[in-house]
């Protein structure tokens, strides 16, 4: 039986309460009659033979590219770059897609007699991965073959000797990327395209770039003109990356792009109720929900966090394509939309969302208040094509505990950003103008980024910029069940319950607003007509 497509439910008197994520917990909310709930499509059937599919993709490239085997030759310099810990979410069960793809690429390289091979984690300004995380991503065999010999490195956007400036785009954007990648005869980039935003020229132009390069598209103006990040053709973020990618290609760097898509089988069977629509919950699902909720209510937050971060997602590969960047990405994007797209008729006054425990930037870490804002307004808000789900001047209601808590190793600059920047202003433009450079060039943050496991000093700024479109679009942002001081510091309004939040929202959108709930994760993307 083929999986059912996404679905928009209209809430009526008989509709059971709707599940909301609330960090490491869940709540059931009775939404007003007439509200809409947008459900993700059911997981598509995965590829029956993923390794076979990878081999086929490598041999039958898209666009103007020869098969991989024809690009490999003895004596050449080959670099394989791959996505970092931020993908996929949650981390997938072994074997990770990156491992499967990289092993195939390495087998072909070995067959072709290529000796000079290096692997690079495309960190951009993210934190360095730990050995355990790397082993999980690329497998023990690859790790043991490369890491001990220094042939597995993590991109260092702050090492001048490891960067090369390729030039400027026609719009004056600096393109500075990893030297090893740039000076290789072939750069293979291995993507996991969790959402439509991932991949394409963004892989190299962002993942292997420096701050000097990234600042051209990671800024409030670009973010505000990206409507949305999931719609490449209306995203200035992508336009900038595409200009950079074309300059990279014009510089003579040959990129062999490999992109993969996943189904939305996001949670293990113990959490099966999370994959279902509430009115279809059986006894097992209800018991699962009740049991888990009761256990979580008695579990200290730190322990609950550990439990959730130990989840390994069962999602499986639905497609793999390789070849020339733009041609590959066009196919990938269509595949992502096929899995995640849901047609939604018209906008809403109030958009509700339950935010989970995880975002791309807190894997094995803490979803601090800045990341809560980014997850809600940067990611969930932007899960649309056409128009935002919520109308201009409307209200977003997010459900999350929003603890005033930061991971000191992973997010040191976030702590200072929250205390020293957001305490002064929440205006992304003002923040960029007044504070960005001092954080971006702070030697301590640079040191921690390069030698520890810290996100770059400028990273919290980028998280805030991700929110820029939503912040300028919305009339109010309300957080249900959040730690009130932290919520206020973000410039949002705290509410103790959904009923409170709806009451507060009525000040902005009137007494009879329309309401739409984004029932994610599993991830969905609204195609708003």
């Amino acid at each position: 039986m083929s999986p059912r497509p996404g679905f928009v439910l209209e809430v009526d008197r008989s509709t059971p309460p709707t599940l909301f994520w609330h960090g490491e917990r869940f709540t059931l909310e009775k939404l007003p009659e007439g509200s809409r709930v947008v459900y993700a499509p059911e997981p598509r059937q995965p590829l029956a033979d993923p390794v076979g599919a990878i081999r086929h993709a490598l041999d039958h490239p898209h666009g103007d590219s020869a098969p991989l085997r024809d690009l490999l030759r003895p004596g050449m310099r080959l670099t394989i770059a791959f996505d970092d810990i931020s993908l996929p979410l949650p981390p997938m069960e072994r074997p990770d897609i990156r491992q499967m793809v990289i092993e195939e690429v390495l087998d072909r390289a070995a067959s072709a007699g290529v000796d000079d091979v290096e692997l690079i984690v495309a960190l951009a300004l993210h934190r360095r991965m730990t050995e355990a995380e790397l082993r999980h991503a690329i497998g023990d065999r690859v790790y043991d073959a490369f890491a001990p010999n220094g042939l597995l490195t993590q991109h260092d956007a702050e090492d001048p000797a490891a960067l090369v400036h390729l030039g400027r785009t026609e719009q004056g954007e600096d393109v500075e990327i990893n030297r090893r990648a740039a000076e290789s005869d072939l750069l293979v980039y291995v993507n996991i395209n969790l959402v439509a935003m991932d991949g394409g020229h963004k892989s190299v132009a962002t993942g292997l770039a420096s701050y000097r390069s990234l600042r051209h598209h990671h800024n409030p103006e670009t973010m505000r003109r990206s409507r949305s990040f999931m719609d490449q053709h209306h995203s200035e973020l992508h336009s900038s990356n595409w200009r950079m990618g074309r300059l990279i290609a014009a510089s003579g760097i040959r990129v062999f792009q490999i992109e993969t898509t996943l189904n939305t089988d996001t949670f293990p069977h113990q959490f099966g109720f999370l994959q279902k629509r509430e009115w279809e919950w059986g006894t097992k699902d209800r018991l699962g929900y009740l049991g888990l909720s009761q256990v979580l209510d008695r579990t200290p937050p730190r322990l609950a966090r550990q439990v959730f971060h130990s989840i390994r997602a069962p999602h499986r590969m639905t497609s793999v394509q390789a070849g020339e960047v733009e041609a590959v990405h066009a196919v990938t994007t269509a595949e992502v939309w096929r899995q995640q797209g849901v047609a939604v008729e018209g906008q809403t006054d109030i958009l509700t969302m339950g935010l989970p425990y995880i975002s791309p930037y807190n894997v094995n870490s803490i979803l601090n208040p800045i990341l809560v804002a980014c997850l809600g307004l940067g990611y969930f808000f932007n899960l649309y094509r056409g128009k935002p789900l919520v109308r201009e001047g409307g209200v977003v209601i997010m459900s999350h505990p929003t603890p005033w808590e930061f991971h000191p190793v992973h997010h040191p600059s976030y702590i200072d950003f929250f205390e020293q920047v957001l305490s002064q202003t929440t205006d992304p433009v003002e923040i960029a103008k007044t504070y960005e450079e001092s954080f971006a060039t702070d030697p301590w943050y640079v040191h921690l980024y390069r030698t520890g496991h810290a996100y770059h000093g400028v990273h919290p700024f980028y998280m805030w910029y991700w929110c820029a479109h939503a912040l300028s679009h919305l009339g109010a942002v309300i957080v249900v069940g959040g730690h009130a001081p932290a919520v206020r510091r973000l410039g949002f309004r705290p509410a103790s319950s959904m009923a409170d939040a709806l009451e507060m929202a009525s000040d902005v959108v009137g007494r009879s607003p329309t309401l739409t709930h984004l029932h994610a994760p599993p991830i969905l993307m609204a195609d708003v007509q």
Binding site: I415, D416, E419, Q420, S423, S438, F439, D442, P443, W444, H447
Partner: protein, 424 residues
Amino acid sequence: MKALLFERNLPRFAASRLLSTIGSGRGAAVGPLRLTDVDTPIPPDLDWHVLRPTLSGICGSDLATIDGRTSRYFEDIVSFPFVPGHEVVGVLDGGGEDHAGTPLPPGSRAVVEPVLGCRPRSIVPECPDCAAGDHGLCGNTAFGTLPPGLQTGFCQGTGGGWSTAGLVAHRSQIHAVPPGMTDEAAVMIEPTACAVHAVLSAPIQAGDTVAVIGAGTLGLAAVAALHHLVAPETPCTLLVGARYDHQRRLAGDLGADVVVPADHLARAVRRHTGSLSLGGRLTGGADVVFDCVGSAASLDQSLSMVRPRGTVVLMGMPGRLKVDLAVLWHREIRLVGAYAYGHEPAGSPPEQGGPRARRPEGTTHGIRTFDLAIDLVERADLGRLVSAAYPLDRFEEALAHAGAAGRRGAVKVTFDLRSRKGQP
């Protein structure tokens, strides 16, 4: 006439100390402080005048005394029983003269500069420090014609501000309150003078990063002093760590460039100075740190955020502290105390302008700290730091409030001796 009298009573002293572990000022009910009838002190000679307090502040040193936390160092330079209260504004019943010899008619308002140096003690010749105008450093505070007592408010012979009976002040201690200045503002002159002295004695250079730990009365007055007396001539960046919201708001209003929660000050200093952090200490750090708390934790924090060869100015009154001084030794940090006031040396040539450059005509000692403080209190509107005023008979509440001032949203808590309603 009533006064709060502090007596030498070891059992009560012990009880007070025990109760103060619950909260500063909480031991007042069982401690050596009691409300009693007293007579107005008799002026020793014609150079002394009777001052009827109208408003009298509760200082951190008063609380430490009542809590039994004061260093034993002070035992020989106080005399019992004494009436506390050294932050005093009041009325000269019979008039008198101020420190400069200006006649003051009866009913004039005045503040007391409480240090009891050589001149009030009729010691001739004056010690070298008093002779140099640094009477805060006077070594004769246990000698001369007065009983021991480093200040009015710690001396058996002078009375103190926590009294409706009045106190006696030597004319060298008397400063007229400018017309139009409220009592609330005037009572802030003494603590402000402490801050002015500390700030002007610090080796601040243009472009320096200056950190202030603590934003109670002293810390906030220090912020005002830095902003008005130092920054105009010696531009520097001022970072303040404050524990409570109202303190942060006031610190910002008074001129701090960066205000953060107290436990974030080191992070802010690190970021501002571009330092690295190693084992909780900064590789660089602030050029000058003002410790306006005086605890082991605050001193440790100060040492962790000051740069090598930087200066930590200890403004808050410390007791016996256990602090690891390895960092001070290793990084050649200067730790200096800042007590009271006297005269401030004139800084730059007068033609350069700015408060630090002003040298009054005819003076040999520079500028009297109290004069600078009076000016600063007016300019920075420091009267707003007075948060509460209690009648004497509610002294237990007043002291508990003062001991929890920050937590309860207050800064300076005072005794209001103007209203007779409710007064004993």
